[in-house]
């Protein structure tokens, strides 16, 4: 068991015992190797179940809006989760006083698909050891460098350290490199328009409309999503080109100035559709246009909700 897991269990047990919170949301060992699963701990004895490692795929902040409003929640927060908490509090989705954030500086999530592509589907066991991931299959042991199998969003991560946490376990990490973070957006933008469109079509049209991306996203919490709206129907609900394209365009657009770049949507997608190049473009633009970054402040409204006259003389045509 790694030190962080130990520290998390201790802290979770303490806040449950001292009745600071009603539930602690974290991770426990999953049924499959390479995938830990979310855990909801309500008794201090159960805190022993908690684990923390690079196999924790979900963005736990997605559960905040799906829990009873009056519940006091302790939540394990990596950088992206803590930023999602801030954004949700600003959007009045949660009372900050009812939350207890257990911050952990994050070294990135292991992309199980990258491993599966190398070793096949018969993984028996996977463990992290320092900078390595050791995967055991029926054919034997495979060793990977952690950096080679990180999820793409984590490779691009700008802020691995939690913001506004009540306690931080583990040592702070260096901040990410903006050049690396925005490189894919700029590279995509440099392609000729017909290639950009072709890529978009190819990715969007593989979509089966399962909405796993939405369910995994901490910022997709609408009681009625636009795609479920039937009268009038704003987007085709079938897996037609029109329907899937509209879904990809509008879901991404709804995340403008709200997406925390966690990549949970991409990890959740059963079709392995790459979609973060959409939200990343929007996040990039919010930085460029309005100097706005989600989670940077605990009070600044996202640009579309700010209602300021600052840009009186912009967008003339």
């Amino acid at each position: 068991m790694n030190q962080l897991t130990f520290a998390i269990r201790q802290e979770a047990a303490r806040i449950l015992e001292e009745n600071v919170v009603d539930v602690v949301i974290g991770f426990e060992v999953g049924t499959l190797p390479l995938k830990a699963q979310p855990a909801f701990i309500t008794r201090k004895e159960e805190a022993e179940k908690l684990v923390y490692n690079g196999f924790c795929q979900n963005n736990l902040a997605a559960y905040l809006t799906r829990r009873p409003k009056e519940e006091r929640i302790g939540i394990i927060c990596r950088g992206c989760e803590s930023r999602a908490v801030r954004a949700l509090v600003i959007e009045h989705q949660h009372d900050r006083d009812k939350l207890y954030l257990i911050g952990v500086p994050c070294t990135g999530i292991i992309d199980w698909r990258k491993i599966e592509r190398e070793v096949g589907e018969n993984t028996l066991q996977a463990v992290e050891e320092g900078d390595e991931v050791i995967v055991t299959t029926r054919d034997g042991e495979h060793r990977f460098q952690r950096v080679d199998v990180l999820h793409d969003s984590c490779k691009r991560c700008l802020h691995p350290n939690p913001v506004g946490a009540d306690i931080v376990l583990g040592d702070p990490l260096p901040e990410g490199d903006p050049e690396r973070a925005w490189a894919p957006v700029l590279e995509f933008e440099a392609l000729p328009p017909e290639e950009r469109y072709a890529y978009f079509v190819q990715e969007a049209e593989r979509c089966i409309r399962c909405y796993a991306c939405r369910e995994a996203c901490p910022m997709c919490y609408c009681t009625e999503c636009f795609v479920d709206h039937t009268t009038p129907r704003w987007a085709e609900s079938m897996i037609t080109p029109s329907g899937t394209q509209a879904w990809h365009i509008i879901r991404a657009f709804h995340q403008t100035g709200r997406c925390v770049s966690c990549g949970a949507c991409e990890r959740a997608c059963p079709m392995d559709i790459k979609m973060t190049y959409l939200v990343d473009k929007l996040s990039y633009d919010m930085v460029q246009q309005y100097g706005f970054e989600v989670g940077a402040s605990d009070e600044e409204q996202p640009p579309f909700a700010a209602f300021t006259l600052d840009d009186r003389n912009r967008f003339v045509r």
């Binding site: 017909e194 950009r196 085709e236 037609t240 929007l282 579309f304 909700a305």
Partner: protein, 146 residues
């Protein structure tokens, strides 16, 4: 482009943005058939989804006509909307659409005749870039009315 092709244009117009009665009357009654007018109570009502729907359905050009920032009938309904629509256009451009297909006209109290000019300018631009080809997924055949 061949001469028989007429661009299809959709106008989203805030019902307060044309203070000049003659202009509004012209919009309401005199619009040529290839221009479709959709009036909304405020720029704030123009969801990017409307714009996307028009494009998917084969609109070659879109004009968004709203009030000047500080002149919004509802005080600030247009402020967030302006930012949204501006970003939405940038986003569609990222996905391969020609930016010029969407045009904004934030019209001031005194600007009589501006809406006609904006429409003419948009139509001219669209004629040079040709019919929309990308993002049209529910297209109606060229030449038909919207």
């Amino acid at each position: 482009m061949n001469d028989t092709w007429t661009p299809r244009i959709v106008v989203f117009q805030c019902q307060y943005s044309l203070y000049c009665e003659a202009d509004q009357k012209w919009m309401d009654t005199q619009l040529p058939p290839h221009i479709k007018l959709i009036k909304v109570p405020c720029t704030g009502r123009i969801s990017p989804l409307f714009v996307l729907n028009a494009i998917q359905g084969g609109a070659d050009g879109i004009l968004v006509s709203g009030c000047q920032p500080e002149k919004c009938h509802f005080k600030e309904g247009n402020l967030g909307a302006r930012r949204q629509l501006d970003e939405f256009r940038r986003f569609l451009t990222y996905l391969g659409m020609e930016e010029e297909r969407i045009r904004f006209a934030w019209i001031d109290l005194s600007e009589r005749g501006r809406i006609q000019q904006e429409l003419a300018d948009l139509e001219e631009t669209i004629r040079t870039i040709g019919p929309i080809r990308r993002l049209v997924t529910r297209a109606i055949p060229v030449g038909e009315k919207l």
